[in-house]
């Protein structure tokens, strides 16, 4: 189908965007890459009176390095995927972005759009929740920084207010000696994962696990951490049995719902299999590093 009628508002600076959002309130939707919003318009699942197109805002596309990789809301998935800077400082982020859709989707889709859209199966929210990343939001009222855990509130629902613009997403870099893995199962390459898991594992000098993070996409209304399995891993000595039992613990802590891509049982099964693979791979990377 075709998009419904709307008023098109093109802005060229953050301030102009904030002014328009303040003025238009919840009648308006921000248009970034359009890779989620335009399908929703065409399917008539969204019907905003105004679209505020931020694509011509000049200073929202930064990719900045440091202890935290900071990505401007308008940085495109493809630019992050191809960034040597990101590949070097945050290989897990590089690997994650490659799972998003197809090249033509990644050419337009933005980091901010993916995070603001908050699809529970999307990879970036799953990564942000794994890393305890942060989201910066601006409005005419000021700037605030939200932790991933408080930002994602539910299915396609975030803590962003209608007058707020997501301006930056922050991905903490992994500490030295931390291994990582992202595992996803999808029916076709580039589709949203049926289940996605992001894992990091850190090992101390005595060879024991000092920290473990396990975050799932596709199994709840937002990305979720498997905290019981994470705490069960800490202090343990890595072994094949340990990975198996932690993966089992993680999977049994989930209560996924079913849809045409998979029943709850199938999703839980996938979560277990993928978590075990991810733990093995993440630990392998600790040893390589």
């Amino acid at each position: 189908m075709k998009p419904p009628l709307f008023e098109y508002v093109r802005v060229s600076s953050v301030d102009e965007a904030l002014d328009r959002l303040t003025e238009l309130g919840d009648e308006a939707k921000v248009l970034a890459g359009g890779q989620s919003l335009v399908p929703l318009l065409s399917l008539r699942l969204a019907n905003p009176a105004y679209l505020v197109d931020i694509n011509r805002v000049g200073d929202l596309s930064h990719i900045a390095n440091g202890p935290v990789v900071r990505l401007g809301a308008l940085s495109r998935h493809r630019d992050v995927e191809r960034s040597g800077l990101v590949a070097q400082s945050h290989p897990l982020l590089s690997a994650t972005v490659k799972y998003i859709g197809h090249i033509a989707i990644r050419n337009r889709g933005t980091i901010g759009g993916s995070v603001a859209h908050a699809d529970p199966a999307a990879e970036l929210p799953t990564l942000l929740v794994a890393l305890d990343g942060e989201i910066e939001a601006r409005s005419s009222r000021g700037v605030r920084t939200l932790a991933a855990a408080e930002f994602f509130e539910g299915f396609l629902t975030t803590a962003l207010e209608p007058d707020e613009l997501l301006t930056e997403v922050r991905f903490p870099v992994l500490a030295a000696g931390t291994g990582w893995s992202i595992q996803e199962f999808s029916r076709r390459n580039g589709d949203f994962g049926v289940v996605t898991v992001v894992v990091t594992v850190a090992v101390d000098s005595a060879g024991r696990i000092s920290e473990a993070r396990i975050s799932f996409g596709g199994v709840a209304s937002t990305a979720v951490r498997a905290s019981s399995a994470e705490s069960a891993l800490v202090g343990q000595t890595p072994s094949a049995e340990l990975w198996k039992s932690a993966a089992h613990e993680a999977a049994s802590s989930l209560d996924p719902s079913g849809d045409l891509h998979g029943t709850p049982q199938y999703r839980r099964h996938l979560a277990g299999v993928l978590t075990e693979r991810a733990l093995v791979e993440a630990h392998g990377r600790v040893e390589e590093g």
């Binding site: 189908m1 075709k2 998009p3 419904p4 009628l5 709307f6 008023e7 098109y8 093109r10 248009l31 359009g34 890779q35 335009v38 399908p39 318009l41 065409s42 399917l43 679209l51 197109d53 694509n55 493809r78 859709g101 197809h102 090249i103 033509a104 989707i105 050419n107 337009r108 076709r188 390459n189 580039g190």
Partner: protein, 171 residues
């Protein structure tokens, strides 16, 4: 309310006005009568509507025409030069890479972007990954993969990796 805009399509400059709700795909097909760009799903899934905007492959069903203001657009109609097909088109023809042809413009633009970016895939698997966003209901994909491998070979003679993949296929 329509919006005035300027853009270049296949090398020709246009000054037009478009309704903001018009997608780039509909604008190309209905307003410019460039019907080589096909519409399958109209929500980003099938890849039939893929065109190049400022050198990158994009879904024209997910871009508003007014967003192409000031841009350089290339569609399937822009490939042939003076009656001479692009080497990619010739390769696809020679490898029988299409049957009904509905998906073909999308595959051509996706493969063209890949070739022009100079990111020739290192393996057949990677090539299949790059083409995975385009759906074909007829061929079973084998002949499309062969056609694109052949095109990579013809356009980048030195690309050893693509050669390897071709030899594997042909032998």
């Amino acid at each position: 309310m329509t919006m005035d805009m300027e853009l270049t399509v296949n090398g020709s400059a246009y000054q037009v006005s478009a309704d903001p709700r018009r997608t780039l795909a509909d604008f190309l097909r209905e307003d410019l009568r460039l019907t080589g760009t096909h519409l399958g799903c109209e929500h980003g899934v099938c890849g039939a509507c893929t065109v190049m905007v400022d050198g990158s492959a994009v879904r024209s069903c997910l871009m508003l025409a007014v967003q192409a203001d000031g841009c350089d657009v290339m569609t399937i109609e822009g490939l042939e030069r003076d009656g001479q097909l692009h080497p990619l088109q010739e390769s696809l023809r020679d490898c029988h890479s299409f049957q009904c042809g509905f998906c073909t413009p999308g595959f051509v633009m996706t493969a063209l972007a890949m070739i022009e970016e100079g990111s020739a895939p290192a393996s057949e698997e990677e090539l299949r990954e790059n083409l995975a966003g385009n759906l074909c209901r007829c061929t079973g994909y084998q002949s499309i993969v062969e056609g694109v491998i052949e095109a990579v070979r013809r356009t980048t003679d030195q690309s050893a990796s693509a050669q390897g993949a071709v030899e594997k296929r042909v032998s």
